[in-house]
């Protein structure tokens, strides 16, 4: 579990970030500072802009205005110290190992390291026994783990996860969360979106609560669930916000 790179990624800073498309402002005047390691959970109901926020943080899309900095660096998709897990990952119709090797090739990793890195990543995600299995024959839980292994193989210092357990059954969710926690313990910064309060309670050190594309509240998970500062967060926790 000691694959993590020593890249200095934090602090993450978003200043007056807006994202608009087709005349609609989906993220507006968003300010955020993340300085601490551990799991930061972006919480909000469906359509609040969580996935969009992660895409902005990773660089998959750029902001319409404002600035995003990772340790004073503007995000780009070619910064391989930061990896991004999509809610619905896609794979080539090949073995898990081939899919992982593809990522190593993209990142320009020396070919001599492929085998060792693949083995370590698959082992960390509990997929060693499925390394040669074609991705088309994997279950939803196995696919998410394969996606995690594909991200982990690059030894990232930050992993962004977009509701990775949304379609998984409870045992698969727990198994996935255990892996995430192991990665976090090894020093990897985890930023994850969810609308699952129970999951946020189990994993989060810090909560970033967003609603309608706006940053509503950022606080320690322990205080957020006991005493949310905003009315929207109070409504969300009590199940009233829609």
């Amino acid at each position: 579990m000691s694959m993590q790179s020593q890249h200095q990624s934090l602090p993450l800073s978003m200043k007056q970030v807006c994202y608009s498309t087709r005349g609609a402002a989906l993220i507006h005047d968003f300010n955020l500072e993340i300085n601490t390691p551990g799991i930061s959970m972006i919480l909000g109901h469906n359509g609040s802009g969580k996935s969009l926020l992660l895409k902005l943080l990773h660089g998959v899309i750029g902001p319409s205005s404002g600035h995003i900095y990772w340790n004073n660096q503007t995000p780009s998709i070619h910064q391989y110290w930061r990896t991004f897990l999509l809610q619905r990952p896609t794979f080539f119709n090949q073995s898990i190992e081939s899919n992982i090797e593809f990522v190593l090739r993209i990142a320009g990793i020396d070919k001599s390291e492929y085998k060792q890195r693949c083995t370590q990543a698959l082992e960390a995600c509990g997929l060693s026994h499925l390394s040669q299995r074609n991705t088309t024959s994997l279950s939803g839980g196995e696919l998410q783990k394969a996606s995690l292994a594909r991200a982990w193989v690059l030894k990232p210092s930050v992993i962004l996860l977009d509701e990775p357990t949304v379609a998984l059954d409870p045992p698969s969710v727990i198994s996935f969360e255990n892996i995430i926690q192991q990665f976090e313990k090894s020093g990897t910064k985890i930023i994850m979106t969810t609308h699952d309060l129970a999951q946020a309670k189990r994993l989060a050190k810090e909560i970033v609560f967003i609603d309608k594309g706006e940053m509503i509240e950022q606080s320690e998970a322990s205080s957020f669930f006991v005493e949310p500062a905003s009315i929207q967060a109070q409504s969300f926790i009590s199940g009233e916000l829609s």
Binding site: V60, S76, I77, Y80, F84, N93, F102, I106
Partner: protein
């Protein structure tokens, strides 16, 4: 009045006996069509892949041209090629008119747009499916092409078979640029046309049966490939 059962009987006899004239025509037909398909494949797969995976100025124009060329009338291709290859034409010095090479070129012109367009559609669909994932992985398009082609291999093979089907059934263009010369450029389709007009229906029927068998084999192969892909 023709004796249909008699014609069929004689036609099957010719096939079973492997009549030398029949074998020669079939082999030349296969040689011409396979050569055309190989050349067209080497042009079409890279062309279709680039058109399917990249967005650039002129892409829609090229796509439009290719789509229009898919329905190109073979006789027009034959005529254009005839003018180019005839002695007074710009490529007359090559002395390719009424050779099997000219027939390969004609078939190649006819099937390249078909294989290219089908390849483009396949790669475009796959690329759309993976587009967000590729961005999330920071994958440059050029590095995604080989794995995408591997994923698309069955669809691409089906496209190539479709091209072969079109090439082997082609008559207009090869008749014009090949000239249907006995032992030189006589292929199945042109022979069927000639022998039917001469009233030699047995040989025409034998070749027709072989052509149909090839067509059925290609169709069956395409079905088997599609089924194996969907499993």
């Amino acid at each position: 009045m023709h004796d249909a059962p008699g014609i069929f009987y004689t036609a099957f006899q010719l096939i079973i006996r492997l009549e030398p004239e029949l074998v020669e025509i079939v082999l030349l037909s296969l040689k011409v069509s396979i050569s055309a398909v190989i050349i067209a494949t080497f042009i079409s797969i890279p062309l279709g892949t680039v058109l399917g995976a990249y967005t650039f100025r002129g892409r829609d124009f090229i796509t439009g041209i290719l789509n229009a060329l898919m329905g190109l009338p073979p006789v027009v291709v034959g005529l254009a090629l005839y003018l180019l290859l005839s002695r007074s034409g710009p490529w007359g010095d090559l002395e390719l008119l009424f050779t099997s090479t000219a027939m390969v070129i004609a078939q190649c012109i006819l099937i390249t747009p078909i294989i290219s367009s089908l390849t483009q559609q396949t790669i475009e669909d796959l690329f759309k499916q993976h587009k967000l994932q590729f961005r999330a992985l920071g994958a440059p398009t050029r590095l995604t092409l080989l794995p995408l082609l591997k994923d698309a291999k069955t669809s691409l093979f089906t496209s190539i078979l479709a091209g072969f089907g079109r090439a082997s059934a082609e008559v207009g263009a090869v008749l014009i640029v090949g000239g249907n010369i006995n032992h030189v450029t006589r292929v199945m389709t042109t022979t069927i046309a000639l022998e039917t007009s001469k009233g030699n229906l047995e040989l025409a029927m034998a070749l027709g049966i072989i052509l149909l068998a090839i067509s059925f084999t290609i169709t069956s192969l395409m079905i088997v490939i599609r089924k194996s892909q969907s499993v």
